[in-house]
């Protein structure tokens, strides 16, 4: 491991050159969608007629710029592909010593992300034109989507944790606005709030990590922090690593902050495809991979990342296997696949490149699956219950084929995209000493089988078997504006894995995260691959037996204890409710009671005391002259008595 430490540190110390040529245009990838979002939101109803066209144009422009940047970058030697573009000085050099430049870092890692975000984003924008055609607020929808693209690009292009945090919050805001896009329904508004709050908990982690960096390193720049991290103590690196992991857990819906993702499906389906499957939820993986130099110093933090990834992987798979709501199955599957990525990222240089590769292939096939789900919902009158579908392959052949491409890709069937990335993650999980590779490798392996089962279950329930439609359903293929993006993403699901492997994607990332250190798995590689494929085949066969060969009941059968638990998201909401919401509520109640009885009590008590004293003293002021005279006499008598007593 020592030599990888040296390599990673060396890789990050490659001086970033000032951006030139097409790469210098990269800030526009953020600026263009941001301007468009501002125009669409400020122009209001005036822009209703052309708003969606402007909204679609910006991610396409962003993709064009990113593509030009890619071509430009490929012209540079591999160790000279890190560029910075300084925009302005955000925090000038102060006596405290903290200076922050608002700068962008354009390197192979951030460029890969920008390409993914703008390409998938552009496709989903196009899809949304048709999908949201009948929504009166379509312009507002596009404004939020543009805001998301801008924030996400800022997040990945940032050159310091401070700028990253701006993008981090921006995507959180866009996600909140889009989940609650149909906030006429209270339930959806509540889902948006839940996502926002869960994300805020994660943000605390990022803030703590930044605080630790400022206190100990005196800088927030990636270059500065990573150079200092090389000499930081293990304890400090572990603390920063765990705080960053908390942030990643919130954003990427990892255990224990995963509960919001299922509810986030309340948003329109294109949102689920773009934000809650392809891009935003993978920001946590990006954060961990970007901070790899810190994690290299902190084996404990890495182990925790791997454990969190493994738990979420299984968690998502179990939940996904029991849900009947098509979008929630896909959400659980997203959670599970991001678990794979976190696991790989936590393995360090052995797996980080494959985490990013899986992130890219997942971005394609999961977006494709979600768009397919949107197409099915569109055809079936917004029905999402998979038990009410069946036999849609004849009614919607294009959706069927594109969905099948995504399905085979997520299963990891060769030569589809998922095979190339997931198989390598499983291999990487088997690398190491002691019991850890056996545990994590087995979890990753079993996860592949479970993925095969629940995705096949969904696929068979929706497209195979007998029609179980409600009477008013008239399934039909959507317009070309929707099928087009689905076909493009399906092509990506088929080919992207092979293309990335053939073009040496890990070598492309090597200047940023160090060379992919192969290591030797504790099992032979062919054994792992065969075992994976056998488990996948078993999962598919089981799903076929249960959901295609046999008729699927329209009403869900009661199911065993595990099924019922999985339907209730393994009681994550109940656990959160007991552990967090109720104690929180108790604190609030106590605070309110303190306010009412102690603070208000003191104020009212003072007032009551004044009144009470007044009531007694008022009796003296009765307005009777004789009574005053009597008082005077009494006073004189007392005075005389005192004087006499004094004298005696």
């Amino acid at each position: 491991m020592t030599h990888t430490v040296a390599l990673v540190t060396a890789a990050t110390e490659v001086a970033a050159a000032p951006a030139t040529g097409a790469i210098a245009l990269m800030p526009l990838v953020v600026a263009i969608p941001l301007t468009s979002a501002a125009i669409l939101l400020l122009a209001g109803r005036r822009s209703d007629r052309w708003g969606h066209l402007l909204g679609v144009a910006t991610p396409i422009a962003g993709f064009a710029i990113a593509l030009a940047g890619l071509i430009d970058m490929l012209g540079h030697p591999a160790d000279g592909r890190s560029f910075t573009a300084v925009l302005f000085t955000w925090i000038p050099d102060s006596p405290g010593g903290l200076a922050v430049e608002a700068a962008m870092r354009i390197d192979p890692l951030s460029l890969s992300f920008v390409l993914l975000v703008t390409f998938v984003g552009a496709l989903i924008h196009i899809y949304s034109i048709a999908y949201m055609a009948h929504d009166a607020d379509r312009r507002r929808f596009f404004a939020y989507l543009n805001l998301f693209v801008a924030a996400m690009c800022l997040l990945v292009l940032a050159d310091s944790f401070a700028v990253l945090f701006v993008g981090w919050e921006g995507v959180g805001l866009a996600s909140y606005l889009l989940i609650g896009f149909w906030n006429r329904r209270t339930q959806y508004a509540v889902a948006a709030k839940k996502a926002f709050i869960a994300n805020r908990i994660g943000d605390v982690g990022l803030l703590v990590a930044m605080g630790l960096m400022v206190a100990n390193f005196g800088t927030l720049d990636f270059a500065g922090v990573f150079a200092e991290a090389g000499e930081a103590s293990t304890g400090l690196a572990t603390a920063i690593g765990l705080a960053l992991l908390l942030a990643a857990c919130g954003k990427s819906a990892q255990f224990p902050l995963q509960s919001w993702l299922g509810d986030a499906m309340a948003g329109p389906t294109p949102v689920s495809a773009l934000i809650h499957a392809a891009t935003m939820v993978t920001a946590g993986v990006y954060l961990v991979v970007r901070s790899l130099p810190i994690y290299v110093q902190a084996p404990t933090a890495r182990l925790v990342v791997v454990i969190v990834g493994a738990i979420t992987l299984v968690f998502g798979a179990v939940v996904g296997a029991a849900k009947d709501d098509m979008k929630k199955v896909l959400a659980a599957s997203t959670m599970s696949q991001i678990g794979y990525m976190m696991l790989a990222a936590g393995l360090g240089p052995v797996g980080a490149a494959f985490a990013i590769m899986h992130l890219l292939t997942h971005g394609f096939f999961k977006a494709g699956l979600f768009l397919g789900a949107g197409s099915v919902m569109h055809a079936m009158g917004d029905q999402v219950d998979a038990r009410r579908f069946g036999a849609l392959r004849r009614a919607m052949p294009i959706t069927w084929v594109t969905f099948m491409a995504g399905w085979l890709a997520i299963l990891g069937v060769p030569p589809f995209a998922g095979f190339w990335s997931k198989d390598r993650i499983i291999e990487a999980a088997f690398v190491g000493d002691g019991a850890a590779p056996w545990v994590f490798g087995t979890v990753a392996l079993l996860g592949a089988g479970m993925t095969a089962f629940y995705m096949s279950r969904l696929f068979f329930m929706v497209f195979q078997g007998k029609a179980r439609w409600t009477d008013d359903a008239h399934p039909h293929e959507p317009s070309p504006l929707m099928t087009g993006p689905m076909i493009v993403l399906a092509v990506g699901s088929v080919a992207l894995g092979w293309v990335l492997s053939a073009t040496g994607f890990t070598g492309w990332l090597a200047p940023v995260i160090g060379p992919a250190d192969h290591g030797d798995p504790v099992l032979h590689v062919p054994v792992i691959t065969v075992a994976t494929l056998v488990l996948v085949a078993a999962g598919v066969a089981l799903a076929w037996r249960m959901y295609a060969a046999r008729p699927v009941p329209v009403l869900p059968p009661p199911g065993g204890r595990l099924v019922r638990a999985a339907r209730a998201d393994l009681y994550q909401d109940a656990v959160n409710n007991e552990l967090l919401v109720k104690p929180g509520g108790a604190v609030v109640t106590a605070a309110a009671a303190t306010d009412t009885y102690v603070v208000d009590g003191a104020v009212r008590g003072v007032a009551w005391l004044a009144v009470a004293v007044g009531r007694v003293v008022r009796l003296v002021q009765n307005g009777y002259v004789r009574s005053y005279a009597a008082t005077m006499v009494a006073g004189v008598i007392v005075l005389v008595a005192v004087v006499l007593a004094w004298r005696v």
């Binding site: 002021q621 009765n622 307005g623 009777y624 002259v625 004789r626 005279a629 009597a630 006499v633």
Partner: protein, 97 residues
């Protein structure tokens, strides 16, 4: 000497009791005059005993001031009676409200 002081004290107590007990403004006023004259008596008696004229001078002052006070007090009582048809001090409570 003692009889003068005892008489003065008795007169003063009678005057004070009158002020405390009686409701009529005129009678209460008389009680006040009685107390003043009780004090005058004490002044004069002590002046005589000590051979000092100061006490006698003060008695004259008190008489003058009491005469002025009677003029003002009676005027107030008369105007009160005109305004309110009563001279009971218990009914004079305008300032209380």
């Amino acid at each position: 000497m003692t009889p003068y002081i005892v008489l003065s004290a008795v007169l003063f107590v009678i005057g004070a009791t009158t002020v405390l007990v009686r409701r009529g403004a005129i009678v209460a006023f008389m009680g006040i005059e009685l107390m003043l004259n009780a004090a005058n008596l004490a002044f004069v008696a002590f002046a005589r005993q000590n051979g000092d004229l100061n006490g006698q001078v003060i008695a004259f002052f008190v008489m003058v001031v009491a005469a002025a006070e009677v003029v003002v007090g009676l005027a107030i009582i008369v105007s009160l009676f005109r305004a309110r048809r009563t001279v009971s001090v218990d009914d004079e409570n305008l300032l209380r409200h």
